[in-house]
Symmetry: C3
Subunit: 147 residues, 3 copies
């Protein structure tokens, strides 16, 4: 983890966290984000997450039944198949252009209110990094916590 800003003011922080994704799919980061909120120390505020990549994205999805996430992934894979004859941006692999499209259709930034020192998510909501490249890799997210 790399601190961009760990100021003297309670409740403020800008921090970069790195996520290792082993491959395609949804990787939960709710706990990592909550840790940064706790470290920032404020009771109420706003937590914003930016993923610094264009072939992976963010989403808030159901954290209970994993079948919902599997069906979601499969549906999006079917909507944006590899080897589309119209693709010209193919130098970085057959999964690269679908990855950019999937990222554009989902979220690059999310802003979650903080209440009582915790992310004010719904009971069944989790925050996920959605890896769209087959090989995965290290994905950086910048987290801002403010009032």
């Amino acid at each position: 983890m790399w601190y961009l800003f760990d100021g003297p003011i309670e409740g403020y922080m800008v921090k970069r966290i790195s996520i290792r994704t082993s491959g395609l799919g949804l990787h939960e980061i709710t706990g990592d984000v909550q840790s940064v909120v706790r470290e920032a120390g404020g009771r109420e505020g706003l937590c914003t997450i930016l993923i610094q990549h264009t072939s992976a994205s963010l989403t808030v999805q159901e954290n209970a039944d994993p079948s919902a996430r599997r069906d979601l992934e499969r549906w999006l894979d079917r909507l944006v198949p590899e080897d589309d004859p119209d693709f010209t941006h193919t130098l970085e692999g057959a999964d690269d252009m679908p990855a950019h499209i999937k990222a554009a259709l989902t979220a690059t930034t999310l802003s979650i209110p903080v209440a009582d020192g915790r992310l004010a998510l719904g009971t069944w909501q989790g925050i996920y990094v959605w890896e769209h490249r087959r090989r995965g890799g290290t994905r950086n997210c910048v987290i801002h916590v403010g009032n």
Copy 2:
């Protein structure tokens, strides 16, 4: 309505509002959100909305001609039909998995600048809760207003 934080500082607030959706489709909440901004009391700032569900979502859409919203809904219904043979997450009903997918393709959080005490939306923009379940229900949104 349930207050998470109604602090002593002008222009700050974290508040949860509940929306009753009678069924599928776009339910305008611009006025509800504007009320929270007014209550927070600041002239300039940022208003963030999180919907605490994964089978309903948020969108900013045209508030004038309702035919635009109807066509939008119908188009998305066609893109994500029920009874997809690949769905395995079907225990909560045929409309549940399409609801999760539609939520992932639209927005879970929105951040709207505030100027002169009002949401700085375009003339034809409204904020909507997009209900993706047939039966609808009570949908909670957490609204953060800050500087």
Copy 3:
């Protein structure tokens, strides 16, 4: 450019910028947004962008190889073709309803953390206005910079 708020507090600003889009496609605004962040003057914070239209949108995409952006545009054009027989909102032209749908599938607001006085984007990320109307036009974005 029109100032909504240029307050006395360093690091705070609400400003509206206008982008001329000559037609369909992705128009980079990273430099314009960075200029507002510089003008606001803070070292760390959060920058939020709202596009005040429902037939154009925002996206963060690869700023290197333009073929990625071209393939992305073509793919979305194919997903949301004009002259869909189900469209009823056709008074403003054949490209209007696809524009609303494309806007709903991408982003209306983006929030980017600021660190060391700069947008904390990834190396290959750029911020784009995505024009979905053939004729293009003047597109207004409201930019909020705060702590």
